[in-house]
């Protein structure tokens, strides 16, 4: 098992702030309205109960830890996900014999907590970051007790529901665009310099190479 998750994440683009382009031709009115809403509007908890919500936050902090960000700067994954569930926004596909997202999330969260008890004798919330990581890793590799999951396929829930929803929210946030050096909004102004190692002045500058990536295929068994 790798210790990769204990490394602190370092962005290759420490000086880049996509929002600095707010008043440039890279942003148009409709995009400014949409992004402003995303930044200003942190939805109140509506769908999950308080305990589920706290558990969701702990899970989100394990799959996408943001230790370098203050509470105010943190991307509020649990709040945005709860809103999706409250509004029942779906992606147009409901897998046959698979629970709907409103059924799947509470059940999946409960199962994660049950796995924590089974593995460490304590609830997920009282585990260390390392222990939390090990619980989710066990779920992703299928080394879990199907009993807790009541019809959910652990790995499938973890990847196709939990991780998928988490990254869709996380990488929709300007703070995430900054850390990966994504150009962000680009209308009316797009880009001129398209070749390898070519960068327009309004794109992120890579100050250091990205950290060594753990080989994904090695994980495959």
């Amino acid at each position: 098992m790798s210790r990769e998750h204990l490394k602190r994440f370092r962005t290759p683009y420490p000086d880049y702030n996509v929002l600095a382009k707010w008043d440039t031709p890279s942003f148009d009115d409709v995009t400014r309205r949409v992004i402003a809403h995303r930044l200003e509007h942190v939805p109140k908890r509506r769908f999950l109960d308080e305990a589920q919500y706290a558990l969701l936050r702990a899970v989100m902090d394990t799959v996408l830890p943001q230790p370098e960000r203050s509470e105010a700067d943190r991307i509020p994954l649990e709040a945005l996900l709860d809103e999706k569930l409250a509004m029942n926004l779906t992606d147009g596909t409901r897998h046959k014999d698979v629970l709907t997202q409103r059924e799947a999330w509470p059940r999946g969260l409960a199962a994660i907590d049950a796995e924590a008890h089974a593995m460490h004798g304590r609830g997920f919330l009282s585990l260390s970051a390392d222990e939390r990581h090990s619980v989710l890793e066990a779920i992703d590799t299928g080394r879990v007790d199907g009993e807790h999951w009541k019809g959910l396929v652990p790995k499938s829930f973890f990847r196709h529901v939990l991780l998928k929803q988490a990254v869709k929210i996380y990488y929709s946030h300007p703070a995430a665009w900054n850390e990966i050096g994504f150009g962000g909004p680009a209308a009316p102004r797009g880009y001129l310099r398209l070749g390898p190692d070519m960068r327009d002045p309004w794109e992120a500058e890579e100050k250091r190479r990205p950290q060594e990536a753990e080989d994904l295929s090695e994980d495959e068994t």
Binding site: T93, K164, A166, Y171, P185, L194
Partner: protein
């Protein structure tokens, strides 16, 4: 997604004698309107590459046409944000139940819901079928033959390419000679150069992808500025979707477009012939009388509509005497290989798939499978790539953020792989109802062994190519893209739903015109073939009209019944 960007999803725009001018902010074009109680010549359900093309051509030929779309009528310049989450408004997000061994993903993957259809969020890859695929049963020994000669299709491809000002290479390296593309190819991006470099290392041909994005101005449309948000809606109007090509043409020629209008049922009379469509708009169900009805809702909604229109005369659904409505649904395998490059690629810039290799579409030796595949360079936006990464490989924690920090160094090659038509892959109606009371479609899809062998071959070949181009830390992902089939056209009423003109074998004034007509899938993105086929069908319908074979003339009925 929300009223923050625009009111188009909640407010009728094509109404009161006008429709949005897609080329200007806040402006309108005049629109002719038709009485619901006065039968129009054609009621067309859907405005994608089937419906809008037909609407434009039939209106230009003087027919009265009303085209319905369940989605909104956007003005790209003011309604499309540079934002993945916001642009989900372009997708068909109504629930569909997906089953089988390899359940399909809908929504962003293959289904659009707005005027202009799925082309508003397609990736603009504008390829032609290999000629032999139109006779794949006879010439290549698999699938079904199309009831069309490739040379006829070749003529219509040229018209379609000119109508959409496809930007493509001066000389295309595969297949029989084709004329020069109307616009010149785009500048290659770094991600496209990865494919080019890899192809030259492997000794196979490559070319700039013919792309439905303007490389020079056209009328009021701006040329491409390489913003790279093509797949989620072009705010520049460079992308030649149906919304900015055939839809304005249809309006100018006197067709009416009804936005936010969901057609739920085609009505048939006591004689079994179509009399019009029931549609839901502005809070209530309405009925439009029509002399002819065309279903152009693509491979899920067209079968769903035909099945849901069952009547006493047609107990199994309309046009379904063969029992084939909804069957032989196809997708393309979309397997990909991804790797980290030493140089910065920044694949978010420019049209995402600017280089293509069709080698394995045109070479038959060395394959352990039927069919072919093309593959293209890639440029997914952040959440698109992140979901691909986690769903296939499952990294999480700091490792996930670290992987995503390689975003600007990533390159990928992804196939459009042919799948075999199989009657078990199908669209049916479920017992559940949606919010309009319409039955939710249930889709079953499984890959065949042949499809899997094709995908494995592609993964191996592309891995070697990406490595040759300098990629490291390679990983593979599997998914599907596009929809085809479900209402096959053919020469025999027993083995097809409609004839070569898209006319139903069972009901002479009911037509199908969209991607559901495909007897086989081919190894290329389907949009240009759908457009070309729709242009062909339009000419056939116009010719039928001239010969008095359409249902508006009394003589027609007797002729065809036999």
């Amino acid at each position: 997604m929300s009223a923050i960007a625009s009111d188009a999803e909640f407010t009728l725009r094509a109404t009161k004698g006008r429709a949005p001018n897609v080329f200007r902010r806040g402006e309108w074009v005049p629109m002719r309107e038709y009485d619901e109680n006065e039968p129009v010549d054609f009621a067309i359900v859907g405005t994608g590459c089937g419906g809008s093309v037909l609407a434009a051509r039939l209106a230009e030929a003087g027919f009265s046409v009303v085209a319905f779309d369940a989605g909104a009528f956007y003005r790209p310049l003011e309604d499309f944000a540079s934002d993945e989450a916001e642009q989900e408004k372009l997708y068909w997000l109504d629930e569909r139940i997906s089953g089988g061994n390899d359940p399909l993903e809908f929504g962003s993957n293959n289904s659009g819901k707005c005027v202009g259809g799925t082309t508003v969020h397609f990736q603009m890859v504008a390829l032609r079928f290999r000629p032999e695929w139109f006779k794949s049963r006879t010439a290549l020994g698999y699938g079904h033959d199309w009831p069309v000669d490739w040379r006829e299709m070749w003529r219509y491809y040229a018209i379609a390419e000119n109508d959409m000002k496809i930007a493509g290479p001066v000389r295309y390296p595969w297949g029989p000679k084709r004329g020069r593309y109307p616009y010149r190819e785009h500048e290659l991006s770094a991600s496209a150069l990865v494919l080019a470099r890899g192809a030259e290392a492997m000794g196979v041909k490559w070319t700039t992808t013919p792309t439905a994005s303007l490389s020079a101005p056209r009328g009021e449309a701006h040329p491409c500025v390489n913003r790279g948000f093509c797949k989620i809606g072009c705010a520049t109007n460079a992308k030649q979707s149906m919304l900015v090509t055939y839809v304005p043409r249809a309006l100018a020629a006197g067709a009416e477009i009804r936005d936010l209008a969901m057609v739920g049922r085609i009505e048939t009379g006591p004689d079994g012939r179509a009399t019009g469509v029931h549609y839901h708009r502005d809070g209530k169900w309405r009925f439009q009388k029509a002399k002819n009805v065309v279903a152009s809702g693509y491979s899920i909604e067209t079968p769903r509509l035909l099945l849901n229109s069952a009547s006493e005369k047609h107990p199994d659904g309309l046009a379904n005497s063969s029992g084939l409505v909804g069957k032989a649904l196809m997708a393309h395998t979309n397997n990909a290989v991804w790797g980290i490059m030493n140089e910065e690629i920044r694949w978010y810039k420019g049209p995402p798939s600017l280089a293509v290799c069709e080698h394995w579409n045109y070479v038959d030796e060395g394959k352990d499978f039927d069919g072919g595949y093309s593959f293209m360079s890639q440029g997914p936006l952040p959440t698109d790539f992140a979901t691909t990464l986690v769903e296939n490989e499952g990294p999480f924690g700091a490792d996930l953020r670290n992987w995503m920090a390689h975003y600007n160094h990533m390159a990928g090659l992804k196939i459009v792989g042919e799948t075999m038509p199989n009657d078990d892959n199908r669209v049916e109606l479920s017992d559940e109802k949606d919010r309009l009371g319409l039955p939710i479609p249930k889709v079953t899809f499984s890959l065949s062994d042949n499809d899997k062998r094709l995908a494995a071959h592609a993964e191996d070949f592309m891995s070697r190519m990406l490595e040759a181009a300098g990629g490291s830390n390679l990983f593979h992902t599997a998914s599907t893209a596009h929809l085809m089939g479900g209402c096959r056209m053919g020469d025999d009423p027993a083995t097809s739903v409609v004839d070569a003109s898209g006319r139903s074998w069972d009901i002479d004034n009911l037509f199908v015109c969209d991607g559901s007509l495909f007897p086989t899938a081919g190894g290329v993105n389907p949009s240009m073939t759908i457009v070309a086929n729709s242009l062909r069908i339009a000419d056939r319908i116009i010719a039928m009209g001239k010969r008095g074979e359409l249902s508006q003339s009394a003589a027609a009925d007797g002729k065809r019944g036999a």
